[in-house]
Every structure is written in C-alpha cells, then in structure tokens.
Symmetry: C2
Subunit: 430 residues, 2 copies
C-alpha cells in the first residue's frame, strides 16, 4: 500500500520534526484533565458510554480541538472525529484514535491515551508547520468497553458495518435506559461542525494504546508494534446438579453442581496447558445457585474466555471445551453454549513496517507483539490498512483503578505515532 | 430418668390406645392447610420467620388448639406452646414440636411435621380419653431456618439460654427490617392465653421430623430413632489474587483467585475423603469478584460446611482446613475464618429407648441413626432429656419445593410419637 511516491512525499517533511514537537508535559496534563471526568478512588475512572462523564469528556476534546482550529464531526452512533485538513480536501484521511469511555472501575489510560496521543500528534504537526496531502483525523470511538451497554467496540463495529445501528438502539443498561435515548442526549449535548456517514473512506487507521500486559515493562522496551489481535471464543457453561441438605445428604449420593463445575474447570486447565504461555484461558465469572453455605449447589454457571493468535489452535481448543466439560462433571449434567467468536486479526504489514521504521528513526527500541485485548483497530482492519502502537503500563494492570503509565512512555508512543502518521499520510494511494 | 413408677403409671393407659386414635386423614389434611400458607410453585413453601405467612401459620395452629380446648402461650421470642393439661398443673410438661417457618424455597414438611404430629398426638390422647399426670405441650419454635433473620434455631437457642434475646433484636433482614419490629408485630397479631418465661422446666423434649436424607426410604424402614446430631464447623475462606485482563495477562504471571480457590477446594476434597461416607463436607457458597467474563478474578469467598458425629474426627478435619487451603492456593493469598462451631450432640438414652420400645409395641420397624441436619432438639438437649423421631422423606430431598413424604409414613411417626409421649409423660421424675 505504501508506494514509492509516498517515500518521496515523506521527504518533504524533515523526518522527526513533527515528532520533536510532541510535548510530554501537554500530553500528561491532558491525561490528568481527562481523568478528572469520572474520577473514582484509587486514581481510577468510571466514565461509561453516554453518561454525563462521557459527554463531558467529548466536550473537553471538542474544546481542545476548536482552540487549535481543528474541526469536529460525529456520526449517528456518536463516533467523534477531529480533523486537521490536508492539501487535498477530497482525499481519504488517515485516522488515529481510540475511545474515551472506561470500564466501571477502570483506569486513566485505557482508550484515553489513544485519543490524546492522536490529538498530541495533530498539535505537533501544527507546531512543526507540517503540510500533508491528506487530512489527518483523531477519532474517539463510541462505547468501546461495553460495560453499560453491551457489547463493546460498538462504535467501530457500527462504523465498519459489523453491526447495524438499528440493532443497537433498543439495548438497555442495567437501569432500563434505552441506548437510543442515551445516544440522542449525548449527540445533543455535543454539537459539532459536521455530520458524518458511517464507513466513509479511510486511507489508514492507527491506534495507540497501553499494552494492558506486562511484557514491554518487563523487557524494558518502550514501543510495541502490534502484529494482530488474538482470536476469541467465549462460552457459557451451565452445570446442573441437585440441591440437597449439607448436613444430611451423603457425599456419594450428591449431584453437587459446584463440585461438577470445579472438576470441569480443572479438566479445562489440563486441555489449555501451554508451556509457551500463549493460550489465554480464563474462567472469570462463576455463579452458584442457591449459593447458600448449608445447601449443596444445584446449578453453576461459569464463563470461559479463550484466546489465541493462531486460528487453527484456537479452533482446536474451542472444539475441546464441550466434550471436556461433559466428561468431567460426573453425576451432574452440563450445557455448553458459545456466546462470542472472533477470528484472529492480522494487522497490515505496511502499517507495521511504518511503525517499526518510525521507532527506529526516533531511536526508540521496539518489539513486535500480539495484542491480548480487543481493540477498535480490529474492526477498522476489515475496511482499511490498520495497525497499533503499544506503550508499557505498570505491571500490566488494566481495567483497574491502579492502571498506570509513565509520562515518558506515553510521550515516546506519541512521538512514534506522529512519525508514523507522517509516513502514512502521503504514502498511501488514494 | 424413667423410673419403675413410670412403668406402672403407663399401665394405666391401655398401651397403644392413644396411638390408635391418630388420624392419618386429619394429619395429612392439616399439612395441606398449613402448606397453603406461603405456597410457592412446585408444591413448595416460603414461610420465613415473622412474615405474614408465619403469622398466619401461628394463627392457624392457635385456632386448631382452641377448637379442641387446648390453651396457648408464647414467650418473648415468639416460641408458641399449646398445652393439654395433666392431673398435676404444677408438674413440668413433656414437650414435643418443631417449627413452622421454612426456607425461602422450602418444602411442606420440614418443621411443620413436628408441630402437626405433636398436635395430632394431643388430639389422639384426647380422643382416647387419656389422663396424664404431667401436662403435654406442643411447641412451634421461632425462626428455626434463619433464612430471613440469621442465625437459625433462634427460638430454641434463646429459650435454652444459648443466645440472649437482646442480641437478636437488632438483627435485620435483607430489606433492613429489624427483628425487634417484626417480632413485636408477630406477637401482636397472635394473641394467646398466657405469657411464658424462657427456660421454664421441661420434663422431656421429643421432636418428630422428616429425615432430610435418603436412608429410611432406601432401607424401607418407617421410623428412625435419632442418636444425636453431628457436630459442625463452618468456615469462610477468602482467596485473594489480582485482577488482570483475560486477553492480555499471561497465565504464568496471574494470581487468579478463582483458580486458587478451586485448587483449595480440590485439596479439601482430598482431606475430607471418607470411604464410609460419614463426613459431610460442602462448599455451598462461592462468590467471585469482580465476576466478569473477561477479567481474572481478584477475590473469591467460599464457605466450608463440615460435619461429623464424632468430636475427635470433627476436630482433626477442622484443624486441617486452614493449612490445606494455605498450601493449595499457589500465588494467591488466603484467609480462613471459623464462623460457626457446634460440638456433636448425643440424645438422652432413655428417650431413645422410649422411642424404640414404642415403635416395637406398634410393630413399626425402627433403626438408630444420627441426624445430619441441625434441629431445635439439640439445644433442648442442653436443658432436658431430649430425642427425635425421623420419618422417611422422598429421595431425601429437603430445603426444596420437591420435598415430599407419604401420609402413611407421617401417620406412623405420629403414632410412635403419641406412644412415646405416654411413656415419657408419667415416666419421668419431677
């Protein structure tokens, strides 16, 4: 995708000049201003989609953009675009960004970093006086986390056509609020310069994000060039036994759903065992009925979250979930239901190369690595060349108020992002 | 305790004559009338302590008593006594009964049977024209189940001095209702002939109950002579790990509280293994935080309910719970807290003998057996000679709407109860 003309065009900007204008101080300050919206104890953030806090975050971003002369636009699901124009107003933009919403008990950097690093890159281009052929836009995708209105990645899915807007409008939150109403209130409270259609042409998409894993920090490397996103299979496993009196029922006669579920998880642990530690296998939800200390459990519902970057391995492990549970639950019954499935995503090699070369030019060590978490980029990858830049986060902790990252690492990532945008913006054929 | 004079006194009643007056039809009909109060789908009952349904059940019992000329009395925790007088009004009564409250999703016979069998025995004595030296009373103990206001066996504990009334009054239910207020409303709605002090002298206590286990049905025996009640140790085990992103965190770096808890339960399974199937070991409650499909669990709280009829075995197994969990949880931390402790109870041998001989006289096969469940009788056993009669229940199912028992078995138990009351009522020294 990146052609020789692009290489030549890039030479028009002094390489690194925009990256040099990235301000670590400005970027960190904006993170702290953003983190104040929905702040919760322990340095955390609760800023779920379409809440007052989400609206305030959108308004803050629009305000920063206006102050620098950038225009704003929104589409019908509330994806918010900030535009720095290029020489050719008709050219498809290069887009960068992430999301501003958070988990209910989330951190300050997941999502917000990608948006603020994108804005910082636009500011740096402006400060460097760079002129690009194509426009560059920063996007804040709507409802990436999905904690209030499930599923997540809603904005990027609707934008790219993976999901219809009309299928989302009737979704309700835990208090019965319809997404349609919450969305309308959000759009009304965040007037922008322009309305956008879904799936307008995008030349390339690049998303900066904290790693949400421990590897970059452990290896002392500031930049991760993301090769792709693991595929996923989610299951709900329901183990059915029979309730009985804890004091009276002999253990040999019991159909104890908790013991059955426990045996199933143990058997799955064996199947998922991986010396290379690539398989991601998690039982995160485990709900017991009636959940009374002196009653043998009659029902357990547990979830399986299975991920792997290789499609064939993922398929083989997923196929084993049902039979493994059935063989393990003894006198109980079991039902296994697949609830989510997503094939592995491989990011565009040219975008990966642009990131690697940008890091090299800036003398920042970088490694190639897969992403464990979902990101909006995996849906954009269906419609345009896409990629991601990871920066270290403390101890790999994420989806937690304790989520943390250093100002230096965040700025280094923003410099690589700015440099990569310059490489992409004139290096991609219309 | 039972003396020769008692043997002689008993001869004054034609043996079996009161038992012969037990009406299977009347007893079953009263069970069905009682089961209508708080009826839930699947033939179940929800009649928790101090609810409208509990009040209605008390009123129904008082009404039946009045209709037959029996007097009623209540103490300050709401234990309800129905009295059939003896020749000596000053003599300590022989008391029989159980409780009228149920589990939130309970059955028609747990508790209610002991009260209704007691009333049936009084009616049978009346029909037989029996004259006893001592009074006989039927009791409905308050809040045996403890599902609404914990702990259970509250009425019998307060009556016998195991727990102070003042410690109970401030207990609240799940909706914040104070026990003190619910109790006052109950007492006001159920006017009785007399107010009783706690722990008035009782000559002997006998409680009829469904087995809540499968043994009598499986062995085809209608009567269980209960030798005692297992001792209990309850624990709360808290496993502490660290939340992490299910897609990102490598399994080898995780401190997964769910996997830690699961390993602890597996290790406890090994410790509790018992070829004779006497040990009762139950993990009935298992609560995961944050309980999200794509987040590694940071905390699991699970309960251990351990019971055994032998004090030494119970002690040894209970001592092993903490160290076993600590050794099993790997990279997680664990805290083990003992929440309840009760030594094994051994019922009075004379009362056991009176039940056995009554069954033999009535040509009803009987076996000696321990009780797996708690009963009010274990607290009464602290203050007077006590015992229990078990009758079969279908498949051993209890604490469940499916709880069932046959009219024939219930009547057989009531006949043994009536016969035993006659044996006890004049056979015990004042």
């Amino acid at each position: 995708m990146i052609n020789e003309a692009g290489q030549a065009a890039r030479a028009n900007h002094l390489p690194g000049s925009a990256a040099d204008q990235v301000s670590q101080e400005r970027l960190w300050r904006r993170h702290m201003e953003m983190a104040a919206l929905g702040a919760i104890p322990g340095n955390g953030v609760c800023r779920q989609a379409f809440t007052e806090e989400d609206i305030a975050a959108r308004q803050l971003l629009i305000g920063w953009a206006r102050a620098r002369g950038f225009t704003s636009a929104q589409d019908a699901i509330g994806n918010l675009f900030i535009r720095r124009p290029g020489r050719d107003p008709a050219a498809a933009p290069v887009v960068t960004g992430s999301h501003l919403d958070s988990q209910p008990s989330g951190g300050r950097f997941d999502g917000a970093y990608g948006v603020l690093a994108g804005l910082e890159a636009l500011e740096a281009l402006e400060d460097a006086g760079a002129v690009t052929e194509r426009p560059i836009e920063v996007v804040a995708w709507t409802n990436e986390e999905g904690g209030r209105f499930a599923p997540g990645a809603m904005g990027s899915m609707v934008f790219t056509g993976s999901r219809a807007l009309t299928d989302c409008l009737a979704i309700t939150d835990g208090e019965g609020v319809r997404l349609e109403d919450a969305l309308a209130a959000t759009l009304e409270a965040t007037p922008v310069d322009e309305t956008r259609a879904f799936n307008f042409p995008i030349a390339a998409y690049i998303e900066a994000h904290i790693e949400q894993g421990p590897r970059l920090e452990a290896e002392g490397v500031p930049i991760g060039v993301v090769t792709g996103i693991q595929g996923s299979r989610w299951f709900e496993v329901e183990v059915l036994g029979e309730s009985a009196h804890a004091g009276a029922a002999p253990l040999k006669t019991r159909r104890d759903a908790l013991q059955g579920a426990l045996a199933a998880v143990q058997a799955l642990n064996q199947v998922m065992a991986d010396d290379n530690d690539i398989v991601r296998f998690t039982v995160g939800r485990f709900v017991v009925t009636p959940n009374s200390p002196n009653t043998v459990a009659e029902r357990v519902l547990f979830t399986v979250d299975l991920r792997h970057p290789e499609a064939e391995v993922l398929w083989r492990l997923a196929e084993a979930v049902g039979p493994t549970c059935e063989a393990a639950v003894g006198r109980c019954d079991v039902r296994v239901r697949k609830t989510f499935s997503r094939e592995p995503c491989l990011f565009d090699l040219d975008v990966q190369r642009a990131i690697s070369e940008s890091a090299r030019e800036l003398a920042l060590p970088a490694i190639q690595m897969p992403s464990g978490a979902f990101h909006d980029a995996q849906f954009l990858n269906d419609v345009c060349p896409s990629g991601m830049i990871f920066v270290p986060c403390e101890k790999g902790i994420s989806h937690n108020p304790a989520e943390n990252a250093s100002p230096e690492d965040l700025a280094a990532g923003a410099r690589v992002l700015a440099q990569t945008l310059i490489r992409l913006v004139d290096g991609i054929k219309a």
